[in-house]
C-alpha cells in the first residue's frame, strides 16, 4: 500500500510537468491517440490495485469453491490427485447420494444435518420478519417524537449492533449458563430453565439463540426505521391529526407506508444476513452440541474445515451462495422493483 501510494504521488507531479504547457483543457481534445494511451494508463493505475485484489482474493476463491465442490478432497494432499466425483457432493447433501448401498447411511450422516441446518436459517428468516420487524417498527414509531433523553435512548439501543457477534455471544453464554443469572431469575419467579439447559435443550436452544440474535440486531432495524421516519413530512401528519386521525391511523396510513422502502431494504438485509449467519452460532457451542441451532455456514465449517471434507464443504458453500443469489434476485425482481421504479422514496 505504501509503495503504491508513493508511486502515485511521484507520478502526479512528473506527468504534470510534461503536459502542463501543451494542454489547456481536457487533454483528450487535443492529441487523441497519445491521450488515449495516457488515459488508459491512468485508469489502470487507479482501478488496478482494487481490481487485482478483488479478482485474486474474492472472485478466484469463489470460482475455486465451485471447482472443489466437484471433487473428493481432504485439503491436505495435492489437489491434482483429488478424485473427480461430479455432482455427488451435492446429491449427498440433498438426498444422501444416488448409490443405493450408502444412501441410507449418508442420509443420516449428511443429508439430515444439512436440511436441519437449512431449516434453522429459514426459521431465523421467518422469525425475524414475524417478530423483529413488528417490534422494531413499534419501538421506532413510539420513539419518533421529541422527548427528554431521546438521543441517549437511540444511541444505547443501537449499541449492540457494533459489538462483535463473538463478544456479544460470549457475554450471553455466561448469562445463560445453567448456574448463571438467567437460571436464578427464572427460578425466582417459580419457573425453571429448559430441561436440557438454555442452549442444549432441543426445543428451547434455538429460541435462546434467536433471542440473542434479536438483542444484537433489532437496534439496527430501529435506527434505520427512525432514519426513514425522520424524513416523513410533519405537515402530512399534522394535517391528518387535524382531520381527526388517531395516532394509530396516522402510523398505519401515513408513516408505515412512507417508510416502506426502508422496511423492504431492511428485510432484504435481514434475509441475506440470516442465510449467511455464522459467527454467533459458532461461538455458542458451534451451532449447538447436537446442532440444535446450526446454520448452513456452521455446518459447512464443521464438515469442510474441521473434518477435512473440502469437496463436500465447498458444495455446501456453493449451495449457500446459490440460495442467497436466487433469493436476492427474486426479492429484487418482485418486492424491491416498485421502490426502484418509483423515485418517491421515504427520504
Amino acid at each position: 500500500m505504501t509503495a503504491l501510494e508513493a508511486s502515485g504521488r511521484n507520478a502526479g507531479p512528473a506527468v504534470e510537468q510534461s503536459t502542463a504547457g501543451s494542454r489547456p483543457l481536457t487533454p483528450a481534445t487535443q492529441h487523441p491517440r497519445r491521450d488515449g494511451v495516457r488515459k488508459w494508463a491512468e485508469i489502470a493505475l487507479f482501478v488496478g490495485p482494487a481490481l487485482v485484489l478483488f479478482l485474486t482474493f474474492v472472485v478466484y476463491p469463489v470460482v475455486s469453491a465451485a471447482r472443489y465442490s466437484l471433487y473428493k478432497w481432504n485439503g491436505v494432499s495435492q489437489f491434482s490427485d483429488a478424485e473427480f466425483v461430479g455432482f455427488s457432493n451435492y446429491t449427498r447433501a440433498l438426498w444422501g447420494g444416488s448409490d443405493p448401498a450408502t444412501q441410507q447411511a449418508f442420509k443420516t450422516a449428511y443429508s439430515q444435518p444439512f436440511w436441519e441446518a437449512l431449516s434453522h436459517n429459514f426459521a431465523i428468516i421467518g422469525l425475524s420478519l414475524a417478530i423483529q420487524l413488528p417490534v422494531a417498527l413499534l419501538v421506532a414509531l413510539t420513539l419518533n417524537r421529541r422527548f427528554r433523553g431521546r438521543a441517549f435512548t437511540r444511541v444505547v439501543i443501537f449499541a449492540p449492533y457494533v459489538l462483535s457477534e463473538v463478544i456479544a455471544g460470549t457475554m450471553w453464554l455466561i448469562i445463560f449458563d445453567p448456574n448463571g443469572i438467567a437460571t436464578q431469575w427464572t427460578r425466582a419467579i417459580g419457573l425453571d430453565m429448559p430441561a436440557g439447559g438454555w442452549f442444549e435443550d432441543p426445543t428451547w436452544g434455538f429460541w435462546t439463540v434467536f433471542f440473542i440474535i434479536t438483542w444484537k440486531y433489532v437496534g439496527l432495524a430501529i435506527i434505520l426505521f427512525l432514519a426513514g421516519l425522520s424524513g416523513v413530512s410533519e405537515d402530512l401528519q399534522e394535517a391528518a391529526a387535524i382531520d381527526g386521525a388517531s395516532w394509530w391511523q396516522i402510523q398505519w396510513r401515513i408513516n408505515i407506508p412512507l417508510i416502506g422502502p426502508t422496511i423492504r431494504i431492511w428485510a432484504f438485509l435481514s434475509i441475506i444476513g440470516s442465510i449467511q449467519l455464522f459467527d454467533m452460532v459458532w461461538v455458542l457451542n458451534r451451532g449447538g452440541t447436537a446442532g440444535q441451532y446450526s446454520t448452513i455456514a456452521s455446518y459447512m465449517m464443521q464438515i469442510g474445515f474441521f473434518r477435512s471434507d473440502w469437496g463436500y464443504g465447498s458444495a455446501i458453500a456453493v449451495i449457500m451462495f446459490l440460495l442467497s443469489f436466487v433469493i436476492a434476485l427474486a426479492y429484487m425482481a418482485t418486492i424491491l422493483r416498485r421502490d426502484n421504479a418509483n423515485p418517491r422514496k421515504a427520504r
Binding site: S64, Y68, F147, S324
Partner: protein, 296 residues
C-alpha cells in the same frame, strides 16, 4: 383526497403551529415513548452492566448473588489481565489489522471509484458490475479456498487477515463512493485542467479532500467490519494466543479459563470497551453510513 389536501393546506397557512414533538399527536404517547425507551435501554445495558460488574466479583459471589452489586468488590481480575501482556498484544493486533484494512480500503476504493465515476471509457460499466457482484459473495462462501490460497501464497499471520478483508470490503466501498464522487461539480475538474493540473493531480489535490465525508463513512464501516471479524482469524490465527485478534482472543481465553467465569467476564468486558468507545465517538458517522448504504 382533494378535500383533505385543501383543508390541510388551509389550516397550515392559517394557524402556524409550534413544532413540538409530535405536534398534534394524541397526548400520552410521550410517556409511552419514554417507557419503551427505558425498557429498551434496560434490555440493552443490563446484560453489558452485568458483564462488567461480574468482572469485579469473586467466583463465590457470582454463584451466590449474581443480581446485586459485587460483594466483595475486587479489582483483581481486571488488574491481572491489564498487567499481563496478552490483552494488550491482542488489542494491538486488532488495531493494526483494522487500521491497515481501513486505510487500504479507503485508498484503493477511492482510487477505483474515481475513474469509474468521472472518466468515460469502454468497459466502465462492466468493471463496476464486476465489483458489485462482490456483494453477493460473502466471505463464508469463499473462506475454504481462500484459506488454501493464502497458504499457497505463503501469506500468514495478520497480513492474511488484512489482504482478504480489503478485497471483501472494496465492493461496498466503491458502490457508496461512486455516486458521491460523480456528484461533485464538473466545473472543478475543468478549472483544474485549465490550471494545468492533470487528472492524477486532480485526484490528489482536489478529489481526496472533497470526498472526505464519504471516505470517513466507508472507512468507519470497514473498520467495524475488520474489528469484529471472526471467521478468518479462526482459520488463520491458530496456535499462539498472543498472535490473535480480540474476538478470537476472547473465545480462546474463555476456553482456557472455563472454570473462572468472573475472569472471563473481565476479559470480555475489556474486549468490548474499545468498540463501545469507538461507537460513542463515531455514532453519527456509523448511522449515516448505514442509512446511506441502505438507501443506496
Amino acid at each position: 383526497m382533494s378535500v383533505d389536501t385543501q383543508r390541510a393546506g388551509a389550516s397550515s397557512t392559517r394557524t402556524p403551529r409550534p413544532r413540538r414533538g409530535g405536534g398534534l399527536m394524541p397526548e400520552g404517547s410521550t410517556y409511552l415513548a419514554i417507557g419503551i425507551g427505558l425498557v429498551g435501554v434496560a434490555l440493552t445495558l443490563g446484560p453489558i452492566a452485568y458483564l462488567i460488574l461480574g468482572g469485579f466479583r469473586t467466583q463465590g459471589d457470582l454463584a451466590a448473588n449474581p443480581t446485586g452489586l459485587p460483594d466483595p468488590f475486587q479489582w483483581q481480575n481486571y488488574w491481572e489481565i491489564l498487567s499481563g501482556p496478552l490483552f494488550w498484544r491482542q488489542l494491538l493486533n486488532s488495531t493494526l489489522v483494522a487500521v491497515a484494512t481501513t486505510a487500504a480500503v479507503v485508498l484503493f476504493g477511492t482510487m477505483a471509484a474515481y475513474p469509474l465515476s468521472r472518466y468515460r471509457f469502454r468497459g466502465r460499466e462492466l468493471v463496476f458490475v464486476i465489483f458489485t457482484t462482490g456483494l453477493m459473495f460473502p466471505l463464508t462462501v469463499a473462506v475454504l479456498p481462500l484459506y488454501l490460497l493464502l497458504r499457497d501464497l505463503g501469506i500468514s499471520g495478520l497480513w492474511g487477515l488484512v489482504i482478504p478483508q480489503i478485497a471483501f470490503a472494496l465492493p461496498v466501498t466503491i458502490i457508496i463512493l461512486r455516486p458521491f464522487i460523480a456528484a461533485l461539480p464538473k466545473e472543478l475538474e475543468e478549472a483544474s485542467f485549465m490550471d494545468g493540473i492533470t487528472r492524477i493531480g486532480f485526484f490528489w489535490r482536489m478529489l481526496l479532500p472533497l470526498a472526505r465525508p464519504a471516505m470517513v463513512t466507508v472507512g468507519v464501516l470497514a473498520f467495524i467490519g475488520s474489528w469484529n471479524a471472526y471467521l478468518l482469524p479462526l482459520l488463520l490465527l491458530t496456535g499462539d494466543p498472543s498472535g490473535m485478534t480480540l474476538p478470537l482472543g476472547v473465545t480462546t481465553f474463555q476456553g482456557q479459563h472455563s472454570a473462572a467465569t468472573t475472569m472471563i467476564m473481565a476479559y470480555t468486558s475489556l474486549a468490548m470497551l474499545p468498540a463501545l468507545a469507538f461507537f460513542l465517538l463515531m455514532e453519527r458517522r456509523i448511522v449515516d453510513g448505514l442509512t446511506g448504504a441502505v438507501k443506496g
